[in-house]
């Protein structure tokens, strides 16, 4: 019984950390830029597909494929931000929502046309043999996913808290005009933030895609979970996104294991509803803090 709980919790933490990764990217865009980015799921999906294309067709080293895929998606994100979102700066939130929904439909169907609906498997350089760690069983791709997620989140946190760029970002999102007066190139910050957020989504997509399979609609569930986690943790709240992701992952695992696997997703969402009933601004939300 204990072994089962432990295994469910560990699996939940692993999946939860990837939810956290996608959510951190989204919270940067949603919470800091106040852009409801429905395309986030497609950046996640493209991360998986670019990694697949590089690894399976160009036979690039797996780790290099994942890194390059992330960079490629960041480039796509940059272009989207400059071309579609920058001209809409200051317009109502509905406009940006419509644009990002449209972009998401476009990208998903483009992927469907290009790669077809059949799911694909990213070729891994290592075996997915089960590794026993006491009573718990893991695979290398899951360990990798958790490690990379952790590293990326720490990296982003350090960037935002300790670097000059991070300071500029925080200044811009706190009070745009004062930041401009202080010499910050506000447009550059917006572009950079969006690009970083997309990159994080792509990383989550490539890592999860390596554990499971990739297919054009994979962004749909991912973005739903990411939004839930962002709201659960408090909009714009970094740490909240991390905790929210982990909590959602573990709740799903335990819910599926001990209540019902058919209702796995529902259980996670019910938890979120309950938490929001008692803490409407999210677990760690107190306005807009990073």
């Amino acid at each position: 019984m204990l072994a089962e709980i432990l295994q469910q919790v560990i699996n939940g933490l692993i999946i939860g950390s990837t939810y956290a990764l996608a959510a951190v990217g989204l919270t940067m865009i949603f919470g800091m830029m106040h852009i409801v980015n429905f395309t986030h799921g497609e950046f996640y999906m493209l991360g998986g597909f670019f990694a697949y294309q590089l690894a399976a067709f160009l036979h690039l080293n797996y780790y290099l494929s994942v890194a390059s895929a992330v960079m490629a998606v960041m480039a796509v994100g940059f272009v989207c931000e400059r071309v579609l979102l920058a001209p809409l700066r200051g317009k109502s939130i509905d406009t940006t929502v419509l644009v990002t929904i449209g972009l998401s439909i476009f990208l998903q169907n483009l992927a469907l046309l290009w790669w077809g609906p059949t799911p694909k498997s990213i070729p891994l350089p290592f075996s997915n043999m089960p590794l026993r760690w006491g009573p718990v069983v893991l695979t290398w791709s899951r360990v990798l996913a958790v490690t990379v997620t952790f590293a990326l989140i720490v990296l982003v946190h350090v960037l935002i808290r300790k670097s000059l760029l991070g300071k500029a970002m925080r200044a811009t999102f706190q009070e745009k005009d004062s930041a401009r007066l202080a010499g910050v190139d506000v447009e550059r910050i917006y572009a950079l933030t969006f690009t970083m957020g997309s990159g994080l989504a792509a990383a989550a997509g490539a890592l999860l895609g390596s554990i499971f399979l990739i297919y054009p609609a994979m962004g749909n569930m991912a973005i739903l979970k990411a939004f839930i986690v962002v709201i659960l943790g408090g909009m714009g709240n970094f740490l909240g996104a991390i905790f929210g992701g982990l909590i959602l992952g573990v709740t799903e695992g335990l819910g599926a294991g001990f209540v019902s696997s058919g209702y796995k997703d529902a259980i996670g969402f019910v938890l979120v509803i309950l938490i929001l009933m008692f803490k409407p601004s999210g677990l760690l939300g107190k306005g807009r803090r990073l």
């Binding site: 019984m1 072994a3 089962e4 295994q7 469910q8 699996n11 939940g12 999946i15 469907l112 077809g116 609906p117 059949t118 799911p119 498997s121 075996s127 997915n128 043999m129 089960p130 026993r132 069983v137 695979t139 899951r142 499971f212 399979l213 297919y215 609609a217 994979m218 799903e252 695992g253 335990l254 819910g255 599926a256 294991g257 019902s260 696997s261 058919g262 796995k264 997703d265």
Partner: protein, 381 residues
């Protein structure tokens, strides 16, 4: 002079018009509803490919009743609501006299009332829930098997021969999955086995760690997996990754072994048993030449896809329909329905004849994946 030009123009147009209406024989439309997108897209595509092969073959031999047949394919997404939309489209916009579809049991059950209301026959090619032919509908004809028949055929092997004594079922949470759990569960219990767990998953689920963890600690000695190709392969992959490869694993309803190996990897698929319908590597007696011909043609047309039972059922389904239209001497729903009742065809998937429940009895067998390749274990009928 002007008069001459005018007359020539009129005569010319009339001749042209006559040419077009005589030369372009109106094609007989056959509706097809399959999942072209979504988690069952792989499976749906196979059916369409098999159907298209039949279409080509039939048209190359002059079509039916002197007219070519034309498949009108709609994406049902294996979803009940979408399939109903697809059926309505085909029946009202395209006015097809017959439909083959809709791949999934839940979707097929959803379109059956629509077919009845429009008094148009439906040929069921892959859905296996018993409810499709029980109670029998006069407009529904099933060429594929159903879970009750499958369980009956598997009964003497599951527990006594294959040793599935403590079974955990992992099934899609829809009519298809539930039908298998109901009937196969009974088959297990009848021969002294026990059903330890029934784990259902939403179609399209990708993370099975919670269910598999439960199964690992439940004392089950076997897992029976029922889902679409993509999900089933994902489950196989994860059983391996969670250290459950030593437990006996079986995939039901003819999931093609080649696809499992491709998606889950050879390592993960080692030893997996597969309950099959038509398979290219294990022809029933007398079927070898016909199967080889089909396989060769398919591989030439679709080189990147392994041929599977979905293609075979799609192919047989269209041929059954074409034969019925021919017997009926008209592309009319009512007459096609009557002709379907009298179907007698030596198909790829079996000797197709409908019993009093409009149900045919296709071939089935069990195979095992060894070193990435399927090997026949036994023919079930």
């Amino acid at each position: 002079m002007k008069g001459m030009i005018r007359i020539t123009a009129i005569v010319f147009s009339v001749v042209l018009l006559a040419c077009f209406s005589a030369g372009a024989q109106e094609a007989i439309k056959i509706g097809v509803i399959e999942p072209l997108t979504g988690p069952a897209a792989y499976d749906g595509q196979s059916v369409v490919e098999g159907a298209k092969m039949a279409e080509e073959e039939i048209n190359s031999k002059g079509g039916v009743l002197g007219r070519p047949i034309r498949l009108v394919v709609e994406d049902g997404k294996a979803d009940p609501a979408e399939s109903v939309n697809a059926a309505e489209k085909l029946l009202t916009r395209d006015r097809v006299p017959v439909i083959m579809g809709a791949w999934a049991s839940s979707a097929t059950l959803a379109i059956m009332p629509v077919m009845k209301k429009n008094t148009t026959p439906l040929v069921v090619e892959t859905a296996t829930s018993l409810k499709v032919t029980d109670p029998p509908g006069e407009w529904v004809y099933r060429i594929c098997s159903n879970s009750a028949i499958d369980a009956m055929l598997m009964e003497k092997y599951l527990v006594p021969v294959l040793g599935f004594k403590k079974v955990a079922f992992m099934a899609a949470n829809n009519d298809f999955g539930r039908a298998v759990v109901t009937f196969w569960g009974e088959a297990v219990k009848k021969k002294g086995g026990t059903v330890v767990l029934n784990e259902y998953h939403a179609p399209g689920e990708i993370n099975f760690a919670p269910s598999l963890t439960k199964i690992a600690t439940s004392g089950a000695d076997s897992i029976i997996i029922t889902s679409d190709i993509q999900t089933a392969s994902n489950i196989i992959k994860q059983t391996y990754e969670m250290g459950l490869a030593k437990i006996k694993r079986m995939v039901t309803n003819g999931i093609p072994s080649e696809a499992i190996v491709k998606l889950a990897g050879a390592e993960a698929s080692e030893g997996v048993l597969v309950h099959n319908y038509w398979v290219p590597f294990a022809s029933h007696k007398g079927q070898e030449a016909k199967n080889k011909q089909f396989v060769d043609k398919y591989m030439a047309k679709f080189p990147n896809k392994p041929v599977d039972k979905y293609a075979a059922f799609g192919y047989d389904g269209i041929r059954v329909i074409a034969q019925a239209i021919d017997t009926a001497r008209a592309a009319e729903p009512g007459k096609i329905k009557e002709a379907l009742k009298k179907t007698k065809m030596d198909g790829l998937t079996g000797n197709i004849q409908f019993n009093d429940k409009n149900q045919a009895l296709p071939y089935s067998s069990v195979s095992r994946i060894e070193k990435g390749k399927p090997k026949l274990v036994v023919h079930l009928n």
